[in-house]
């Protein structure tokens, strides 16, 4: 499974980079979907197929569809692409890239340390286990999350009614 993990991770990193540098917003969204699917593969390789498929259904399948839906409404043409390019010349990237590299340099030793400690064998966490956790110790968080969603639902209904 580790090959799958590294392949998924690599695709996720590359496609996320492509999301950032794209000037065409539709292409950026396609790469973002790819990145989310790659993350789903990573979850799968870590033995969490349920979470992997929820990632694919909810993030890649529903939320990104809504993103694309909004992009359709906006009627973005060549003008917005040119503007995007004008806003992001290469020199703008220097400072953020340096900061990110510094962060990466600090993170890498930690990651290798953790990897050395928890090189645990592959254990599949099934749907039942996840559900038992969600409705056992974390039931309060689930209920709070559903409250939040209900509030969002009601406000959306209110806005749509006006």
């Amino acid at each position: 499974m580790s090959e799958l993990f590294y392949a998924g991770g690599l695709i996720a990193i590359v496609s996320t980079l492509l999301v950032i540098v794209q000037s065409n917003v539709v292409h950026a969204l396609i790469y973002l979907v790819l990145s989310l699917l790659a993350v789903a593969v990573v979850f799968f390789s870590l033995g969490a197929p349920f979470v992997a498929l929820l990632e694919a259904i909810v993030y890649a399948g529903a939320i990104m569809v809504l993103f694309l839906f909004v992009v359709m409404m906006l009627n973005l043409g060549q003008a917005s692409r040119d503007q995007e390019r004008a806003w992001l010349p290469p020199r703008v990237w220097i400072v953020p890239c340096t900061l990110v590299l510094v962060l990466l340099g600090m993170l890498l030793p930690q990651i290798f340390e953790i990897a050395a400690v928890t090189n645990s064998p592959f254990v599949e966490v099934g749907v039942k286990a996840v559900s038992a956790e969600l409705f056992g110790p974390y039931v309060l968080a689930v209920e709070l999350g559903s409250f939040l969603l209900l509030a969002g639902l009601i406000s959306a209904y209110h806005i749509a009614k006006r």
Partner: protein, 324 residues
Amino acid sequence: MGWIEWQVGSGLNIASILLVVIVVAAMLIWVERRLLGFWQDRLGPNRVGPFGLLQVVADMIKIFTKEDWVPPFADRFSFVLAPTIIMIVILLSFSVVPFAPGVGVVDSNVGVLFVLAMASLGAYSVMLGGLSSDNKYALLGSLRAAAQMVSYEVFMGISLLGVVALAGTFNLREIVEVQENGWFVVPQFVGFLIFLIAGVAESHRLPFDIPEAEQEICAGYHTEYSGMKFGMFFVGEYLGLVLISSLITVLFFGGWHGPFGIGLLPPLVWFALKASAFIAFFILLRAAIPRPRYDQLMSYGWLFLLPLSLINLLVTGVVILAAN
């Protein structure tokens, strides 16, 4: 480790499933036209080969030799990507379908969710196709498709949960094995109806072909497509039809089990019979039922199917709890 254990058949098995599924989907083009013909007191295509069986070959030759044209105003990357998505996504969904004991690709513990995930990714095909065409009718079609597919995924998922709760597993093969002594269509009849309607909407076939309503918006999202790129959308639609019929068979009609424990025929034949019956039913739907208006489709889904599927799930849960 994991996925090797999940594999059901050999490599030959997998290759033959892929081949059979694609050939069946292609033959459905002919089957649908002939059945529609009979239901409209016509004959349908009967010229090419015996009973017109080679019509598919003629169509394939036509579609392959057509000019593979990308409009100069289209966004080339998304335009080429869009039709491949629907083919790949639906063919991937077939990997978790248990056709018969020992026949299948993967025996996944999350098969139902996998099918739902692939169905939700299928929405990108129509959306990107319409968006990249840079054509108002295509855009309208893909807007409709996006709203329709995202909405009906919800009811599809919830209607399946009753079956999952009864079977106690997300594994499609285990769901079939549980149904040996009784099909889920009896306790889950409402769920079956909702899944049927949502399945038609999800594969956007008539009467719910609102994204490609010819009379209103040309051909909807595939207005600008021609040649094999259109062919992929076209065959993708029939693949979706086969998939939905197989899923109904697996989830509600006992998969490869005969009715009332009758085992006269081989399991694969039972499966094929049931799936073909549903395919014919979907074609009958196309022949008989007119297309609803777009807002009617949405309000029917959110105001009728959603509460109904939630009530169905609630009642199923209560019954299971009471039985335990």
